[in-house]
Amino acid sequence: MERHEYDVVVIGAGGAGLRAAIEARQQGKRTAIVCKSLFGKAHTVMAEGGAAAAMGNVNSDDNWMVHFRDTMRGGKFLNNWRMAELHAKEAPDRVWELEAWGALFDRTKDGKISQRNFGGHEYPRLAHVGDRTGLEMIRTLQQRVVALQQEDFEVHGDYEAYIKVFAECTVTRLLKDGDAISGAFAYWRETGKFIVFDAPAVVLATGGIGKSFVVTSNSWEYTGDGHALALLAGAQLINMEFIQFHPTGMVWPPSVRGILVTESVRGDGGVLRNSEGRRFMFDYIPDVFKDKYATSEEEGDRWYTDQANNRRPPELLPRDEVARAINSEVKAGRGSPQGGVFLDVSSRLPAAEIIKRLPSMHHQFKELADVDITAEPMQVGPTCHYVMGGVEVDADTAAASVPGLFAAGEVSGGMHGSNRLGGNSLSDLLVFGRRAGAGAAAYVDSLGDRRPQVTGVEEAHAEAVAPLERQGGENPYEVHHELQRTMNDLVGIIRKENEVAEALQVVEKLKERATNTTAPGGKIYNPGWHLAIDLRNMLLVSECVAKAALLRQESRGGHTRDDYPAMEPEWRRKLLVCSAKPDGSEVQVVEKTQVSMRADLITLFDRAELSKYLTEDELAEYDAAAKELS
């Protein structure tokens, strides 16, 4: 069996993985990047709107404290506040660094990086390139990896002396030595051959879980592999009940249902209307946000040119609010012909401006739906977009509870609390990707000459080949479709106790069926086989989502319970933590208390605002902290 030794193995070549690998290599570690797709094609490539960083280029009042506050508000104060703090402080440096590696962001008049408005962000904050920011980011990081390889070639005569990309290579198990990580087991998609990585440190950067849902903006890679790998290796997942349904996915034609319509459409002036032509978002401003959003169309419209004297239009509320509002309008019979609502930019900006600012949206609608967005409104509806939950990590080092395991990007949990603000993922990838690379490098250093031994290869091998060897079992595609429908219908945007409980029963049955799938054909590039392997991960993750969703008896961010519609301060202090046995059985979800915010951070907020979120006890703590600091 093919075998390689590395200091650090990074699983994932999206923004988080590449930034982690760059850091590990820059710290002198021999680093492998392993990814399921070709190099440069990870899901990050799809990101459109931008990367949030309080550089203050467009409004000089912006700074990390404002960004921190917006992030905590967006997450309904459930965020790991230390992560939100580091993120807000470090994002500008991470964006500027990209520029020094060749990125070409759109510019302001004075030649700086331009920044655009986005939901939940108080000031224009998203560094962007039209509506293809993710592509710019991944290409820049990819090209940085190549630049490092060229440096290594100069010195060692080998491009791959310190950093090597294993593309179209899927990890199916993390390997351990006792409690600690010792490597990873994978197969090459191209040949079906197996490969073992010997490495004391593994960084998970595998992205999200959207492929467990039918209607999703996510790519095929999003089967929750990293979430599952972490669980199976003994690490914990937190916040799995929180899933972001992006308010604006395409709804028609059916084959493109779910594909994202970027929030920039609204950031740049687009408005939402129901079948009666009403800008319904004005009817859905929740109490906690009442004083921050415009109450009339006139004020909302003025805001685009004069932000100092007007409040934002409610189309730019955080995503969870907008998604629920659209859902309600459609349910109330005020939807568009194809079951969404109207998103109109055609009556708001000149055609040329739309094509310049939103080129890929223009292209996407024209090519896929025969709709010219400069002339007519789009039809949009909610789509499963992002998982806030993920591997529980230490904020500063990105370390999981298993020694040697690190996680960054969408696969990690905590940073975004119960709801992520648009643009905060790309910056999260950079900030915590770098920290994970540094954390892994420091961990390797701390081991000195000790190296953990790889174990469990035979078991991993047997598990992986099973679907190929079984005869006459289930069609994996059918199990997958049933899972997607179940999660979409029963654990989707609006949840009820009996439905979630039903979903759990279905998942339980599907788990059994998944152990009996057959993949006809050989080992070479066999998608049926690959799916059969991915099913284990999707099912495990779905079980976590459903179990946590059943437990949390309140509504907050990306978790809406029809039977518990209110947000409860008591629940704000509770995180739900998932764990499982190494064979994926016995998924447990337990409550854990959220650590109180540091005094200097909590006092960045008004008491009046906090009183909407915190318990009386916590407010007393706040008063004490405020007194001490004054």
Binding site: L38, G40, K41, V45, D93, W96, P253, Q364, I524, Y525
Partner: protein, 248 residues
């Protein structure tokens, strides 16, 4: 509004293969990739195809549809008649791994041979100042999603395997142009464009521009200006230097 469509799909591996006929359901609004996925789910579970975003953004699902290089995810079934047989084959310029999946490593090798972005040593991150108009030229080329269809269709390598060693293909010649037009890049790229990466082989037939799903004007905006720069440079290096400084 669904119908039974006729598909012929190239199947095979290890240098051998054949076109296989399928009859498969096609629904309103679908793209070719949807139909390939239905084939996988119902008739040919091991049919190999690369794909990722299914939204025209990642450039994974390049294939030849009725002989034309296209992204499977952006080719709508409504562009064909219902009784038409649709033939789907892998990109021809690259060796086939299996079915519709080809070995595109040539492209990654070429990417690595082009010297990276080289900024002046004294500019720190955060200090970059560039005007929109000056970044727009390179931005156009950075729209590239690396579907490699331009390289697939370029006859310099499509019909001449032997040129692959010394010709980077439109994709990476455009990358050189992109860096050369970057306001902060200080490397001299003209000689190597011509001598190491084969710019001279391009005889501007514009096949690359025609297939680009991002509608990048590869020939007009990248390759021809790059050729001009190479020529200018041969006659007057001072002009080149002046241009570079002026553009800042």
């Amino acid at each position: 509004m669904s119908y039974k469509g006729k598909f012929r799909v190239w199947r095979g591996e290890g240098g051998e293969g054949r076109l296989e006929d399928f009859t498969v359901e096609v629904n309103e609004g679908e793209v070719v990739l949807d139909v390939i996925h239905r084939l996988q789910a119902t008739q040919a579970p091991d049919l190999a195809v690369r794909w990722n975003c299914k939204a025209g953004k990642c450039g994974s699902c390049s294939m030849e549809i009725n002989g034309k290089p296209r992204l499977g995810c952006m080719t709508r079934m409504s562009t064909f008649t219902e009784d038409e047989t649709i033939t789907v084959t892998p990109m021809r310029t690259f060796p086939v791994i299996k079915d519709l999946v080809t070995d595109v490593s040539y492209n990654y090798q070429k990417a690595r041979e082009i010297p990276s972005f080289t900024p002046p040593k004294d500019v720190k991150p955060g200090e970059y100042r560039m005007q929109q108009i000056d970044v727009e030229r390179s931005q156009e080329f950075r729209k590239c999603i690396e579907c490699f269809m331009c390289n697939n269709v370029c006859h310099v390598i499509r019909d001449h395997e032997e040129n692959k060693t010394h010709f980077a293909g439109p994709r990476f010649l455009m990358r050189i142009a992109e860096l050369d037009m970057h306001p902060y890049d200080v490397a001299d790229r003209k000689d190597s464009a011509q001598e190491d990466h084969g710019l001279g082989y391009c005889n501007i037939t514009k096949c690359c521009t025609e297939v680009c799903p991002e509608h990048i004007k590869i020939t007009d905006n990248a390759l021809i200006p790059m050729k001009e720069r190479v020529v200018d440079r041969k006659y007057d290096p001072l002009v080149w230097l002046g241009n570079k400084i002026f553009r800042r």
